[in-house]
């Protein structure tokens, strides 16, 4: 991985600011279905409420996503985690970290908060079983020092869910 948690604590660059303001306006006009942005005055950290899609294992359940933007967003991916309690899902660790390639190696600056949210909801929706990843305990223990998921060397082994 080529990112570090210290970046997310740096103030947004001007370009990042402009881009996020643009995204926020677009979100307000046309929010992705099933998501609600909790209004704060912090442009750098968005808290987004997500409701499980009808007809899926998570139907009607509400979770919260926390999106932190690095200084050089959108060149760098935002850090996206579930706030406690994280949904039970084979790719979501109990500390809220999400194993999803577009959040790490496959991030592209053409993606937006909105498109990331849709990907996460789609990941939830396609799950057939409510369970934690097999290595959950080991991983969560490794992250106890507050390590960002962006520092994890993710191994994307499953493209079905």
């Amino acid at each position: 991985m080529t990112s570090s948690s210290s970046l997310s604590r740096k103030a947004l660059s001007k370009i990042a600011c402009n881009r996020l303001q643009k995204e926020l306006v677009e979100w307000q006009v046309n929010p992705p279905t099933g998501f609600k942005h909790k209004v704060t005055d912090n442009l750098q950290r968005w808290v987004i409420e997500v409701v499980g899609a009808p007809g899926t294992l998570y139907a009607g359940e509400t979770y919260q996503l926390q999106v932190d933007f690095p200084e050089h967003y959108p060149m760098e991916a935002p850090q996206v985690i579930f706030l406690h309690p994280a949904p039970l899902h084979p790719h979501i660790y109990s500390n809220g970290h999400i194993c999803l390639d577009i959040l790490y190696d496959s991030w592209s600056p053409a993606m937006t908060v909105s498109s990331v949210c849709i990907s996460i909801l789609s990941m939830l929706s396609s799950s057939t079983v409510k369970q934690r990843p097999a290595d959950n305990d080991r991983y969560v223990k490794n992250c106890r020092n507050g390590r960002s998921p962006k520092e994890t060397r993710w191994w994307f082994h499953d493209d079905k869910v």
Binding site: M1, T2, S3, S4, S5, S6, L7, I15, N18, R19, K22, E23, E26, H72, P74, M75, S108, P109, A110, T112, D135, Y139, N142, R147, E151, T152, R153, W154, W155
Partner: protein
């Protein structure tokens, strides 16, 4: 019999389409006809002015064509979003209703050409900054944009250059991490994917823009190194210039078997014959040489002498301009470099995290 006649007619129509579109028409099946026609806007001869294209699938029903219009679908497209694709198909379908029971394949393709010509502009926002690619009102100059040739996705030039730069820096850091870890560097081909569709694209697409935008200063070399290189280059070039001029003068003098006095109205400035980067001085030299050439009656040889020295000076002028620009950029680059070095340092610290 009627059915046979009809089939014959349809086969002839397919033949006509093939003749008309040549390589742009792929015949999947002769009868009932199934064609893929590559359609480009009217302006497509100039590839820099082409922003859309489509491969239109035309599938005719065995018995019912042309009474029933063919089924139309988009096999492949570039530069068209869902909405525009939909608009295209609906419009051609409407046309096909109008033309019902005529031989219509070519007409439908022509309709598609017309529609595409009308749509031949990038649409929507720059994927990086999310601001529109084309500014609506005529008064405002929209910022320059470019497209990737493999997918026709368009970006503000400034935005994509920034991204490109970011990738280069990132790659360098990866390389240095690999190098410091003592791992043999893989000779993997650097692949570039469109940020929107991840289609591979040629680095030339962007390098071309770098040249065009005159932002060569964005190149990776460390700023200081570049400065030293530049100075060397400048010196060698002007040195060459000077030598060239001197040689041409010498030759002239030899031809005229003697010294040529500079014309009286020409002011000889100190340093005029030195490689000083004073622009007016070098133009003065040029005109001096020219006038001397005029006075020299060897008309046939004059251009030979004139052109190289002229060329050299003009290219020098341009170089100096860009160099001046570069220097300005360099100071900014330097800051960036300082910053990216720092970031690199942070990253190395963080690197050995594994899960």
């Amino acid at each position: 019999m009627a059915a046979e006649e009809q089939e014959e007619e349809v086969r002839m129509e397919v033949e006509a389409v093939r003749a008309f579109y040549g390589d742009d028409c792929e015949i999947i099946r002769e009868f009932p006809p199934h064609l893929h026609v590559h359609i480009t806007p009217n302006t497509a001869e100039n590839s820099s002015q082409q922003f859309v294209e489509v491969v239109l699938g035309i599938l005719c029903d065995a018995q019912q064509y042309p009474q029933k219009p063919p089924h139309l679908h988009i096999v492949d497209s570039k530069g068209l979003d869902e909405n525009r694709e939909k608009h295209l198909i609906t419009s051609i379908e409407n046309k096909s209703q109008e033309l019902s029971s005529c031989s219509m394949i070519i007409k439908l393709c022509q309709e598609a050409v017309e529609l595409l010509t009308g749509m031949n502009h990038p649409e929507g926002n720059c994927p990086f900054c999310l601001h529109p690619l084309l500014v609506e009102d005529q008064s405002g100059n929209s910022p320059p944009f470019m497209k990737l040739m493999s997918c026709y996705h368009c970006f503000h030039s400034e935005c994509i250059i920034r991204w490109w730069q970011w990738l280069q820096d990132d790659r360098k850091q990866c390389d240095s991490v690999i190098a410091s870890a003592g791992i043999q560097k893989e000779m993997k081909q650097q692949q570039h994917n469109c940020p929107v569709c991840r289609k591979l694209f040629d680095a030339k697409d962007i390098e071309h823009i770098l040249d065009y935008a005159g932002t060569n200063s964005l190149q990776e070399n460390a700023a200081e190194e570049m400065d030293a290189d530049e100075r060397k280059l400048l010196e060698s070039e002007s040195e060459k210039n000077r030598r060239q001029k001197f040689e041409s003068l010498l030759q002239l003098q030899q031809e005229n078997s003697g010294l040529i006095e500079p014309r009286k109205e020409i002011v000889v400035l100190p340093g005029m014959y030195l490689p000083a980067p004073v622009v007016p001085a070098s133009t003065a030299i040029d005109s001096a040489v020219e006038q001397q050439l005029d006075s020299a009656s060897t008309a046939s040889e004059a251009p030979d002498l004139n052109i190289p020295s002229n060329k050299a000076t003009t290219s020098k002028h341009r170089d100096m301009n860009t160099r001046r620009k570069n220097r300005y950029h360099n100071s900014r680059r330097q800051q960036q470099n300082v910053y990216s070095n720092r970031r690199q340092w942070v990253k190395k610290e963080m690197a050995p995290s594994e899960h």
